[in-house]
Amino acid sequence: MSVVQLKNVTKRFGSFTAVSEATFSLNKGEILSLLGPSGCGKTTTLRMIAGFEEPSEGDVLIADINMRNKRPYERNVGLLFQDYALFPHLSVNQNVAYGLKRRNYDRGQIDHRVGEMLDLVKLDGFEQRRPSQLSGGQQQRVALARALATNPEVVLLDEPLSALDAKLRQELRIELKQILSAVGASTIIVTHDQEEAMSLGDRLVVMSEGRIVQQGPPTEIYKNPRTKFVAEFIGRSNWLRGVLGPADRNNLCSFEVAEGLTLLVPKPEFDASTYEVCIRPERIRVGNANSTDGATNVNQLSGTVQNVAHLGADIHIVMELASGYRFTISEQFIGQSMDEYQGSLECTFFPSDCIVVAADS
Amino acid sequence: MKLSRGAILLLVPGVGILLAFLVLPLANVVEESFRLFEPGRIGAAKDAPYTFFNYAELINVTYLYYFVETARIGFIASIVGLILGFPIAYVIARRFTPVWRKIGVGFLIGIMFLSTLVRVYALQLTFGPTGIAKFLTGLLGVSMNGRFYTELVVILGLLHYLVPIAAITLLGTIQNVNPRLTEAAQALGAPRWMAHFTITIPLCVPGLLSAFLISFTLCLSAFVVPMILGKGKVLFVSNLIYSRFSEIANYPSGSAISIIMLLLSLLIIYGVTYLVTTRWIKH
């Protein structure tokens, strides 16, 4: 059963179209990540679900009820603002109780529910503090408790972790996911951070320039991005442009990038005038064809090492091919010496690791 | 949000006050300023004929003199106010610890909030015959009742108000100039005084200009300072309007002067501010 449904939702501001024909749905108990670069329309989408903007066209349904002309307070939506929007003149207790009071819970219910919520976000003992006396992480948890307190049909999180520093973000991401699944909240998370989107979301909706470009489980989108934009936005990638040949018996096509550089790639399921191929850095292995245990149809490249960067768990190697293309290879650090990556280098990858997309015209 | 009926209701008191106590009275002043005045009356007669005389009269040298004098003295006081206010603002912004900064700001605000009359009276006691007038005039070699000394005291009276205002306005400006810039200039070989003249002061130009504009408009409409400290020898346009009312009850002439003064003030505030913001602050 879907909790939230968007049907062909379009939002125009004057002549500018912020969101164009967005259609997706959120299932009960599911966490959905709305991912895209800034200005792609994801925040506008969120604000239409919350009721701060009316769609120019299309419908927003919450619990199968059309939300047209319903004010924010007539919907049961929990919203976690990017900067938390905690009421500075109210204590933690009063902040969490605010929604319950406005929704006419009685005194005893409010006290009970506030205690329960602060327990959930591990903030008991902070009841009487003002928001200004809390750390960024604590503020975020108060805001979350406040948004969850009224048992909303759907919880909307607007860039929930962006105001925190990198290390805290990692910790809180895990905590956030635990809290959300503990209460079984149906959640939409808006973010521009692909790691955040993938780690929190059961499903991704990728947006670009007001349109939804792809939706599906995170792994699926990472493995099979449908456009160059999606492939580039999610994860690191090496790109080659070339001419696609006919398919062979194994459903593999030749892909001629330059003279002396032809790859085997899977046959695409669509037609396009020109194609591009993307290879993820971590799918490339250093070594020659002999090291692939006799597998056939292996793509092999050779080039010279330009740069080696040891980033802790990973090593990034930039290799230049004879044709001038540059490739980034990501290797796991397992104690090897950096001297291995010097001078000329060979590397291999399987055709199945090549992602074929239509080239942007 | 779009304007609702409730919102329009909220505007009613404000608009009403403005209309009843400012717009309509000013409109009436405009009307009065074109009426012919007969000496001996109080104001113009209800059916007095219309005339440009009240404005034409102002081109007369005696009247122009008031405008020129007001502008000249106001200009001097504003410039000196900036020169004296800037170092104070700089020291408070850059050299003081937070506790001292609070004391400094409190001091400036205190002086600024001081009732005009308290200020004027204090200056009169200090720079008048009861105070250091004899010493000062002896030092300068001028007469205590002469034009020069009176004008000096009027300027001091204006400065007592302008210095804290200039300093407070500039405090914000200086706090927005990155102190690393002067340090960078010094690291690049500029001595400290040159670093200030080539880096700090040019970066404060918008602030200096707005402080000057605030000071200058305050001077132009100054009333109590010239009235008390000017002792009838230094008179500003405001005092001219007041004397039109209190001494000869020539309301039409007072109206014409009021209108000219109002237009000049608005011209300086909105016109010059517009020029300054488009030329200096945007770029």
């Binding site: - | 909220l10 002086i111 914000g172 009312f245 007072g254």
Partner: protein
């Protein structure tokens, strides 16, 4: 080497200028405070030789001053209340609603700040004379309301624009309608701005001379007007005593402002602090 001398000399010159300026700002105030305690019964030269409270006794037994003080306080309280109420209403609309001519309306609301006070006083005098209404208190009050109104609008507006809009939105997602969101969130947060506006309005009403001079009558006059006429005709130090009393008012107002908004916020802090 020469540069160093210039730096050195320049620093001392700046310190000297500052000390001289600060002396100029403080000394007259100290002089008038000391003079107000002068035991001599006439206006003598500074410094006083003996001290007493007799000028204060004179002030508090002189019905001319006391009437002025009473009128000033009554007018200031009423004018500040009226201006604050009207100003808060106007500021709320200016902050929360969008409509054509909004910018112009704001400029007009703030315009009494830039119109010379003498012009305001003069125009009100003519206007009320023309209509033949409003004598005494109401006439004086009208002048004080119009000069204090823009302060109320400006400080309330500054307080309101400092409130991030998403706080209202947060209240609305939690079930509050526009009216409830205003009273629960916006109003409590804007209250400091409103109180500061009222304090400013009170202070400027207490201080005004230019407008009041036109609108006073022999029976209704403010303390500053009384002091002006005394300054022109009388040569005694009751005015010094009156000054000190007004100074105490000023100090009180500054303390109130510091407690409710903080002095640094009155002037606005910058980005770079040493």
């Amino acid at each position: 080497m020469l540069q160093r001398y210039i730096d050195h000399f320049g620093a001392w010159a700046v310190v000297g200028t500052i000390l001289l300026t600060v002396t100029f700002l403080i000394a007259p105030i100290i002089v008038s405070i000391l003079m107000s305690f002068d035991a001599r019964s006439y206006l003598g030269r500074f410094p006083p030789t003996e001290f007493s409270f007799h000028w204060y006794a004179r002030f508090f037994s002189d019905s001319y001053y006391l009437t002025g003080l009473k009128t000033s306080l009554i007018i200031a309280v009423i004018a500040a209340s009226v201006s604050t109420c009207a100003g808060v209403c106007a500021a709320i609309v200016l902050d929360r609603y969008d409509f054509p001519g909004k910018q112009a309306l704001e400029t007009i609301f703030l315009s009494p700040l830039v119109i010379p006070a003498v012009v305001v006083g003069f125009s009100l005098l003519l206007f009320f004379a023309l209509l033949g209404v409003f004598q005494g208190y109401p006439r004086l009050l009208a002048g004080h309301i119009i000069i204090t109104f823009p302060y109320a609008v400006r400080t309330t507006l500054a307080g309101l624009t400092g409130i991030r809009r998403n706080l209202t939105e947060a209240a609305m997602t939690l079930g509050a309608n526009e009216r409830q969101a205003f009273w629960d969130v916006t109003f409590p947060l804007a209250r400091t701005g409103m109180v500061a506006g009222a304090v400013f309005a009170f202070a400027f009403s207490m201080d005004d001379v230019a407008v009041s001079l036109f609108l006073t009558s022999p029976q209704t006059y403010t303390l500053p007007v009384a002091m002006v006429s005394m300054m022109r005709t009388n040569f005694d130090l009751t005015i010094a005593a009156a000054s000190v009393i007004l100074m105490l008012f000023t100090i009180g107002l500054i303390i109130i402002l510091d407690v409710i908004v903080g002095l640094e916020r009155v002037i606005g802090g910058g980005v770079y602090r040493s």
